[in-house]
Every structure is written in structure tokens, then in C-alpha cells.
Amino acid sequence: MTFLPKPKLHHPKLASNALGFTRRDYEGSISTLCAGCGHDSISAAIIHACFELDLPPHRIAKLSGIGCSSKTPTYFLGNSHGFNSVHGRMPSVLTGANLANRELIYLGVSGDGDSASIGFGQFAHSIRRGVNMTYIVENNGVYGLTKGQFSATADKGAKNKRGVPNNDEPIDMVSMALQLGATYVGRSFSGDKTQLVPLIKGALTHKGAAFIDCISPCVAFNNHEGSTKSFDYVREHNAAVNFLDVFEGRDEITADYAPGTVELVRQHDGTYLKLRKIANDYDATDRISAMNFLQTHHARGEIVTGLLYVDPDAEDMHAALGTATAPLNGMSDEALVPGNAALAKLNASLR
């Protein structure tokens, strides 16, 4: 069995972005996940998003923990920084990296095991601190690397491959993120790139803790009749509240829409999120009603997707801590190690 690299030849009309890169330049090495894995689609969506946003690959840091999902950073952004951490510890490593160098774009990639079980606490604290990052959970409801046991996000009553139902209550990562203060929260589905790519773009441009729960069917262990995370089930129960477009300047928004069907949200960095509403009564800037909406629809067996909440005026951890604006690697030794006199002065101020 061989895994041939993807041929270097590409479509002769393949587009380049503002940096002169093609989409293919944002790829990584060939995926060794199972054929048809939803995670590969999410990797492709990340590649699309970074290409379309003209992000310089060397300014992106991708971090992950352990699991099928955490393997994926190898398969995209081959020219970016990467860190594969201990199981469940990605959020802490990301937080530390962000503190040291706030100028990189941080992309945390994790799974339902890595974030909802072993790394649950880590996940919670990185969100509540408001670390400026995009945190994607590739959620398939099973432990794929250990042959498909239910994970903490598996729905109660969902059946495993042998027909045995799950008895435990699921952890809803989106509800958790909302409650913990994430300032950009979305849910999507690996099989729907038209929804997923703009959601990732919005998250990458958002300043603050952006969280995306992406349902990603496990073709090997969780894509059967009775699963609630299969391609068929998610397609049947998908209740999208809106579709998102991300624009860098307002001028580009020219199309006319019927009043009340489109909502424009301006973010800190000047980008616009254009929300084409599907559920008319849904207000994506109201955290409490978002949480209510989620609970109501979850009770009906629906999977709510789309941009569920955004705080366009969010601030991040650095603002809260009042840290220096320059990254540590850009400071002189004198600034980093101010010496005994400075220490004595600080100590004196605390006496």
C-alpha cells in the first residue's frame, strides 16, 4: 500500500491570490486518514479559507493535540508553523504561544476526544480567557483511532456500528463555548463547504476566541444507520440559521437583498460579515437568545448550523492583561530582562 503524493500538476487556469499563491500552495502532505474522512474535507476548507483571505502561510501557527483530527495539520498549510502537543493540551500550548507572539494567526485543531474528554478543562479555560484564535473541533462522536468507541459528544440513544445505543448525555461543545464566553461561535458540517469555508474565514479574521464545532462523519466507525453523526443524518437534520460571506471592504457588498434578510456585521479589523438569514427570527449577536435557540432546536432533534453568535467588538486576552504590544521575539534583551534594579522596584511596589 502506497500513498502517492498529490501530483504537482494543477489546472492551468488555477487562480492566484493577492500574494501570488495558488490554492495548491496552501496544501500539506497527502492525508493518511481513512478514505472519505470528513476531516479531510475540513482540511480542504481551511486551505480554501486561508487562500481566499490571502493569508501569508508563514504567519499562521497550527496547533493540535492527539487523535485523527489532530493529525490533520500535517495535511494542510505545509509552509506554516505547527505544534503537535500532548493529548488535550493544545489550548494551553496555543495560549502560551499567543502570549509570546501575538502577531501570528493561531489555528487550533482538535477533536471531540481531545477537547471534550481529556482536554475539556483546557478547552474551557482557553475560551474563557478570550485567547485570539480559531479553535476548530472536528467532531465525529467516536474515537476513531481506537476503533470507534463513543466519545463525549455522542448523542444519547445514538447507536454504534454494532447497534448498541449510547447511554450517556452528550456534551454540546457549542453550548459550552457560548456559556464560556467565546466571542465567535459557529457550527457546520464537513460535507457542506459552501457553509464551512466562510465560517472559517470569519473565525480567522475575528479578534478573540472563535470556536467552530464541525460535525465530521467518521466513515469507518460512525456513518451507519442509527448514527447521529453520519452524512445522511446530518443532511436530514441540518437546520442552518444563516449563510455567511466574509468581505474585506464594504464596497464589495453590492447585491440587493430583501429587507430583513441580510445582516451586516463589521468586525474590529474592518472586515464585514454578511449574514444571509435563513431563520428570520435568529439574531446572531444575542448570546442568550442563541443559547435558547440551540436548546429548543436540539430538543427537536435538529442540528443547528451557521454563525450562531458573534461579538464584533470582542477584545482578547492581551487587552485584558494589558501585555506589551510587541511580540517577545521582537524585544531587546534589556527590555526582556530589565535587571535587579527593576526587580527591586517592582518588589518594593508590592510591599
Binding site: L9, S41, S43, F231, D232, R235
Partner: protein, 603 residues
């Protein structure tokens, strides 16, 4: 859009661009794989079955396959298909045992073939093993026709012609060389069941300018001059030579002149350089031998002094296009003059049938061409069939061969009192190439090598010997690398919508973005909203419905690398790579020639 009917053999045949473009529909990727495997005999036999003259065509073919080659669209240059064909011929062993083995039981029918060129010999090759008694007439002392008389030996050595003509005469074909057929009527009176006319387009077009007649001693008609050179009657030419004409004959003339004493040889054409009929590589070869090509010059006058040629004058013209895109050459008023000792006129060929009587039921059109059915190649006299240059005017060897196959089928049906309008269907096989997970029985690793150049003999050496072959051909190592450039377009991406779970894995992995799952629409509109817009309408879109979400799968065949990654990443086997082999129908031999395919060898 209407879902694609992949059961129609034309659909997948079209995807194999090279095979589709080849008049004889040679299964190109199939033999290139065999060359890569070092199985030159097998590669040769596949060619031999389909195009009869692999060694000859591997050196001289006009290669309609190469401009069609997909590699030329996804990269810079097509696969060197033609020169790989030569590799099969050069490195094969003794294949005589694999030829149809006679004597063939006679079916009692006699067929006369006029002209031992590629068309006539092709007909003989197809009919002899089926039990026909075939007699080939030619005025030349040996077989080959224009292949032998027109193509200079430095491009095609006699030994190659002898070998491949020999394979045909060895089938028990009777040859009457040195025999000019002065009367078709007389020939038909000899009681043949059918006559095939493959007499070519033997007359060179005349130059009609003042001074032509006076300087006749130094003005030569290109094709006549080439055959005189070929048969050794002409051994030298003046130092300064003007070659008129922009076709391949002109290229052969100028390069031959360089070898016979021509030091200042130039080609002068009426039209622009780009519009010249000569193949680009033949122009390149000529220029490489220090032969300039001057364009937009219309012959005005042959300048002579007391019957001795001095030079030629030309009107300088420029191309103007009207609003319908039609070109006309407008004189600029300037006149240019070039000194010369000899002029070779290669401005076209014409058909000539002085030997065909007007009262034997063969109708001619107003251009003097016989009325020939373009499918059956039958003339208005049901017993007489035409093919090659004799049928529709000057073309190339590979066209003559293709005509021959069609005409042979017609002659066979005619002699067996069957309806010749009913054409036999090609044989088609479509077989999965899957060997295991990530394992295929073809090499799906796409090479990124650029086209390899065929080594040439050193110019200094080749210009002094008109028989020294210029192209040396690929050696096995280069051939292997060039063969790896082939994209295996005959290994088709076959989609089974019932198995598809729409996971997008194929879309994500496709290196050329040719797969899209989307809402159905009309073709023109659909083409614009695929993952990569598919604007070349000559290339089909493979459309499949029957998906769970109600969307369609649309695959643009244009840029597909046939790398099989869609099938490798497909979790359900909805995509499969299947080898498509299309075998053109031919006259059924009494005992079929054994042409082993790679698949049969694997079994």
C-alpha cells in the same frame, strides 16, 4: 443536463484524446505502457494491427495525436507519442512469428490493388489473411509508394520500409512491380471481384510565372526531384537553391538540397510562417540545418539570362483579414530578388487519373476527383474503391492507412454480398484496474518531467551523407522516462452514483479540480460554475445523477490527470479506474493475428 451515457463507446474513446485524434484510432496509452514495461514486441504488434507501418510512422507520421494529447494542456508539451512508436519498432525482437501465418485458405475472391503505397498495402494486409487473392500493381521497382520515393532516406532508411512492406508481401500478396496500369478498364476486364485504387496524388503543381519555361533546366518539380534523388538519379544541385512552398515536401526538398551541395538554401513561402502547412518540427529541423524560411513573398518572375537561371523576384505581400476572418494577401508594392542556381517547386500536389476511362461508371467531380463515399470508400462503380491520396487529395500516411481499413471492410462485405453501408462496431472492453487499497495495475504516479528531446546525429556528419538518419531515436532509458509522461487517459474514471455518499473526498483530492457536486443545470450555465470553469466545449462533461441529495456529479474530462486519486480517496468505491480498450473493427482474418494486450498477459 442529460446524464452521460458511458455505454456509448464514443464517450470514453473521446477521453483518450490521442486515440480519438488518430485516423486509425491506435490505442496509444496501451502501447506506451507496454514500452514502459520493456515489452517492445507487444507494443509493436498493437501498432502493427492498427496502423500497419509502426517503424515508418514512428519516423514520419504527421502525428495528429500529439496536438490532441492531454499532457499538452496540463503541462507545456504533449507526450512524444510518435517517437515512442519508433522505440517499439527499434527495440523489438523478431516478430515474424507473430504475424498472421499463411498460407490462408482461399475464399476464391480476387482483388486488384493499384499502387503499392500505404493505402494499397494496407488493403492488401487486411484482405490477404481473410483468404483474398490480392494482386498489387505499382510502376516502381519496389513497394512503398511515396513512402519510398518522397521521404528522404535521412528521415526514413530503406531498411525500415523493406521490413514493413515485407510483412505484408509475406502474407501471400502477389506484387507486380515495374508495372504501370495504363487502363482501369483493361484491369477490370481481367475479372477481379473488386479493385482498390490507391494511386496517390502523383502530380506536382506547376509554377506559372514569366521565365519558367526559359529556365526549365534549373527548375524542378519537388516531388519528381525527390523521387529522382531517392532512386539515385540526381546526385547534386547548385550551391544556391530556392525552395518554393511551405509544406512538408518543401521541407524535405530543402534538407535534401543541403545534402547534395546546396550551401545557400532558402525556403520561400507566400503565406505567413505560422500558417505554413509543414509540421512545426519539420520546420524546426530545416531551420536547424541553416535553412532560413522567408514568408509573405509571392513568386513574380524567374530571372534568366540566355536560358540560364540567375535568380527569382517576389512581390512582398501582407496579410489582411476581412470582417469574416478571411485572409487575402495584399501586395505592398515592394519587390525583392534572390539569386539562385536552382529552384525546387513544392507548392502542392494534384491527383491525376489519365488511366481511368470516362465510360466505366466512375464519376468525377469538377475538380477531377472521383466521387467517393467517405465511409465506405466506394466509387460510383460498385466494384471500384478508392483510398489514400487518390480518394480525397493529398493527406498523410496515417490517413491512407485509416482509409485502407475502411475500404478493406467494404471490399470484404461487397465480395461477400453484404450491405457495405452497415459498418461493424468496434470491440470495447472496460475493466477495473484496482488491485488493492491504493494499488492499481497501471502506474498512476504522475511524472512531472518535461518532454525529452530525441537525440540527433551531429549536424556536421548528417549534412554530408544523404542516407545518414538524422534522428537517432530514444534509447530505452529515455524512452522509459518519456513513456512515464503518458497520463494513461484510457484508464477511465467511472462513477457509480448509487455507491456515492457525497463525502467530497474526491473533490478535495483532485489535483486539477475537475470534480464538482452541484445542482443540475443546462450545460452552458453548468460549465461556468464548476470548481474549475470548463470552457472548452470540445471536451465533455461527465454528468451523473441519482445522488441522494438530488445534486449531480459533474466531471470535466478536459484536465483530468487519470491519477486515480479520486478512486483512492473514495470510501465506497463509487469511483473506479477502468481501462478502456477500443479495438477498431477490421476484416476478420481466417486465423487471427496474435496481438497480446497487457491485460491478457496478466491473466
Amino acid at each position: 443536463m442529460k446524464p452521460t451515457d458511458i455505454r456509448n463507446p464514443d464517450y470514453f474513446h473521446k477521453v483518450v484524446d490521442c486515440q480519438w485524434a488518430c485516423p486509425a484510432h491506435t490505442p496509444v496509452p496501451e502501447y506506451i505502457r507496454l514500452i514502459a514495461a520493456g515489452r517492445y514486441d507487444d507494443a509493436y504488434m498493437i501498432n502493427w494491427k492498427s496502423n500497419v507501418f509502426p517503424g515508418i510512422l514512428g519516423r514520419t507520421c504527421d502525428r495528429p495525436c500529439e496536438p490532441a494529447c492531454r499532457r499538452g494542456r496540463v503541462e507545456e508539451e504533449p507526450v512524444a507519442i510518435c517517437r515512442l512508436k519508433r522505440v517499439a519498432a527499434d527495440f523489438k525482437g523478431d516478430v515474424s512469428a507473430r504475424m498472421p501465418q499463411g498460407p490462408f485458405p482461399s475464399n476464391g475472391k480476387r482483388v486488384a490493388v493499384v499502387g503499392a503505397g500505404p493505402a494499397g498495402l494496407g488493403v492488401a494486409r487486411d484482405l490477404a489473411p481473410a483468404g483474398y487473392q490480392v494482386t498489387v500493381f505499382d510502376s516502381a521497382p519496389n513497394g512503398g509508394g511515396f513512402i519510398r520515393s518522397q521521404i528522404p532516406k535521412f528521415r526514413l532508411p530503406d531498411s525500415v520500409i523493406d521490413e514493413e512492406v515485407g510483412y505484408i508481401t509475406d502474407l501471400g500478396v502477389e506484387t507486380r512491380y515495374n508495372t504501370y496500369v495504363p487502363s482501369l478498364k483493361g484491369l477490370m476486364d481481367e475479372g477481379y471481384d473488386a479493385v482498390f485504387v490507391g494511386s496517390g496524388a502523383p502530380r506536382g503543381r506547376e509554377l506559372d510565372v514569366p521565365g519558367r519555361q526559359e529556365a526549365a533546366a534549373n527548375i524542378h518539380i519537388g516531388i519528381d526531384w525527390l523521387s529522382s534523388v531517392s532512386f539515385g538519379h540526381v546526385k547534386s544541385i547548385g550551391k544556391r537553391v530556392i525552395v518554393l512552398g511551405g509544406g512538408n515536401t518543401a521541407m524535405d526538398c530543402c534538407r535534401s538540397a543541403r545534402r547534395l551541395g546546396g550551401e545557400d538554401v532558402k525556403v520561400i513561402v507566400r503565406s505567413g510562417f505560422e500558417e505554413m502547412k509543414a509540421s512545426p518540427w519539420e520546420k524546426e529541423d530545416a531551420m536547424h540545418e541553416d535553412i532560413p524560411i522567408l514568408n509573405f513573398l509571392v513568386p513574380k518572375e524567374v530571372i534568366q539570362k540566355d536560358g540560364q537561371i540567375v535568380g527569382m523576384s517576389f512581390d512582398k505581400v501582407e496579410a489582411k483579414y476581412d470582417d469574416k476572418g478571411r485572409r487575402s494577401l495584399i501586395p505592398t508594392g515592394a519587390v525583392v530578388q534572390y539569386a539562385c542556381d536552382d529552384v525546387l517547386v513544392a507548392i502542392g500536389q494534384e491527383n491525376a487519373f489519365p488511366w481511368i476511362e470516362k465510360d466505366i461508371g466512375i464519376e468525377f467531380d469538377r475538380w477531377g476527383m472521383p466521387k467517393v463515399d467517405d465511409v465506405t470508400f466506394q466509387s460510383t462503380n460498385p466494384k471500384v474503391f478508392f483510398g489514400g491520396d487518390a480518394a480525397f487529395g493529398p493527406k498523410n500516411i496515417i490517413w491512407a492507412v485509416a482509409h485502407a481499413h475502411h475500404a478493406a471492410i467494404s471490399i470484404d462485405k461487397f465480395c461477400q454480398a453484404q450491405d457495405i453501408a452497415e459498418r461493424p462496431a468496434p470491440g470495447v472492453t472496460l475493466v477495473s484496474q484496482k488491485m488493492g487499497i491504493h494499488e492499481w495495475s497501471y502506474d498512476n504516479d504522475v511524472s512531472i518531467d518535461l518532454r525529452f528531446k530525441v537525440p540527433h546525429r551531429e549536424k556536421k556528419l548528417s549534412l554530408v551523407d544523404i542516407k545518414a538518419e538524422v534522428e537517432l531515436g530514444f534509447d530505452p532509458e529515455l524512452a522509459l522516462k518519456e513513456a512515464h509522461r503518458c497520463l494513461n487517459c484510457d484508464v477511465q474514471t467511472v462513477f457509480a452514483p448509487k455507491l456515492c455518499i457525497e463525502c467530497d473526498a474526491c473533490v478535495d483530492i483532485c489535483p486539477v479540480d475537475c470534480i464538482t457536486f452541484t445542482d443540475d443545470g443546462e450545460e452552458d450555465e453548468l460549465r461556468t460554475r464548476l470548481n474549475a470553469p470548463a470552457l472548452d466545449k470540445t471536451q465533455d462533461i461527465y454528468v451523473s445523477d441519482g445522488l441522494k441529495t438530488g445534486r449531480i456529479m459533474a466531471k470535466d474530462e478536459d484536465m483530468c490527470l487519470h491519477c486515480g486519486l479520486c478512486a483512492e480517496r473514495c470510501p465506497t468505491g463509487a469511483w473506479d479506474m477502468q481501462r478502456f480498450l477500443l479495438d477498431m473493427a477490421q476484416v476478420k482474418p481466417v486465423s487471427a493475428p496474435r496481438a497480446t494486450t497487457s491485460l491478457e498477459a496478466l491473466a
